[in-house]
């Protein structure tokens, strides 16, 4: 058996002790995806294909091979299945994202952030 090439293989093992979520949004993405599958909004196959496609795009774009890239790809995949299977168009998602940004900017630090009536 030939020894593993150092450097080429070291990163995998180094990632072994990493926390699986760096930020709450990453956990939320997985929770939403699994819940949509459990609630039959999207099939397991459609979800895995969407995630696989988003991961392939990230790799092709040269994004780093790490957890942040993985969860960002998962978020893109989730937005797509929510549009294709949940009937929520990208425009509605973008508008809601902007509404949240306005709400954060309009809310003094420390106070709960709530969406305003648009």
């Amino acid at each position: 058996m030939s020894p593993p090439a150092e450097g080429a293989v070291a990163p995998l093992k180094r990632m072994d002790g990493e926390p699986v979520f760096d930020a709450p949004w990453q956990a939320s993405v997985m929770a939403m995806a699994d819940t949509l599958v459990a609630n039959d909004v999207v099939t397991p196959k459609a979800w895995s294909e969407a995630l696989g496609a988003a991961l392939k795009e990230a790799q092709a774009a040269g994004e780093p091979d790490n957890a942040e890239t993985y969860y960002k790809a998962a978020l893109r995949a989730l937005e797509r299945v929510v549009e294709s299977h949940g009937g929520i168009p990208a425009a509605a998602l973008n508008a809601r994202r902007d509404a949240w940004e306005r709400a954060y900017r309009a809310t003094p630090h420390g106070e709960p952030v709530r969406l305003r009536e648009e």
């Binding site: 949509l36 949940g86 998602l93």
Partner: protein, 216 residues
């Protein structure tokens, strides 16, 4: 002085909005609030999911399944022939494990699990997949060079041990049943479960210690 002023303005701006979430977090808030409004998910269910998978599930359920298989030959036979119904006996069936295959290591065979497409994983048994499992490097190399990947994780296999690589899909996921360490025949099921690591149930660890390393 224009550059100084613009830098200062940018810094003030940053401080004022330091609590503005990241772009990803904003997009997640948008998704979640819309999905809740449309009745496709419930906030409390999402919160419960995150709480359970961040802490409670971990690989403990998988370790329990393996320890039970070591202690109970009938359960082991059921697990190997129909894993989903065997884990259902323990109440561990989830939508990610409705179709599950248990593959057993022997002196002649070592099993390694991967998902080459994305990151399919029996997370209702093992918790959230480790970050390395989701990398492009692992997903491609586990198939192309499984012995190299195993060596990196400290698993040195003799040439006469065959490596079986199992490619998970949305429809079929895998659980490796590692070999019981020698000298642990007198331990209880609960004590044995503490010896079973997450990586051993994926296949990137082979020889389990007869003493727990602080549990799983």
């Amino acid at each position: 002085m224009a550059s100084f002023d613009s830098a200062k303005v940018a810094e003030i701006h940053r401080q004022l909005h330091a609590h503005l979430p990241s772009e990803s977090a904003l997009r997640v808030k948008a998704l979640e609030s819309l999905l809740v409004e449309k009745g496709m998910v419930k906030s409390e269910n999402l919160d419960a999911w995150v709480e359970a998978y961040s802490d409670e599930v971990g690989p403990k359920r998988g370790a329990h399944v393996v320890a039970k298989a070591w202690c109970d030959p009938d359960f082991r036979a059921r697990l190997l022939s129909d894993a989903a119904s065997a884990i259902d006996e323990l109440g561990y069936l989830g939508n990610a494990t409705a179709h599950l295959k248990a593959v057993e290591n022997t002196d002649q065979v070592h099993n390694l699990v991967v998902c080459t497409l994305c990151s399919c994983y029996p997370f209702s048994l093992l918790g959230i997949a480790p970050n390395w499992y989701k990398t492009a490097a692992y997903r491609s190399r586990a198939v192309r060079d499984p012995r190299g990947v195993l060596a990196e994780f400290g698993v040195a296999l003799n040439e006469d041990v065959a490596v079986h690589v199992w490619d998970s899909t949305a429809e079929l996921r895998y659980l490796v049943v590692p070999q019981q360490p020698a000298g642990t025949e007198d331990l209880s099921e609960a004590e044995l479960a503490k010896l079973v690591t997450r990586n051993a149930m994926i296949g990137t660890e082979r020889d389990l210690s007869a003493r727990p390393k602080g549990g799983v």
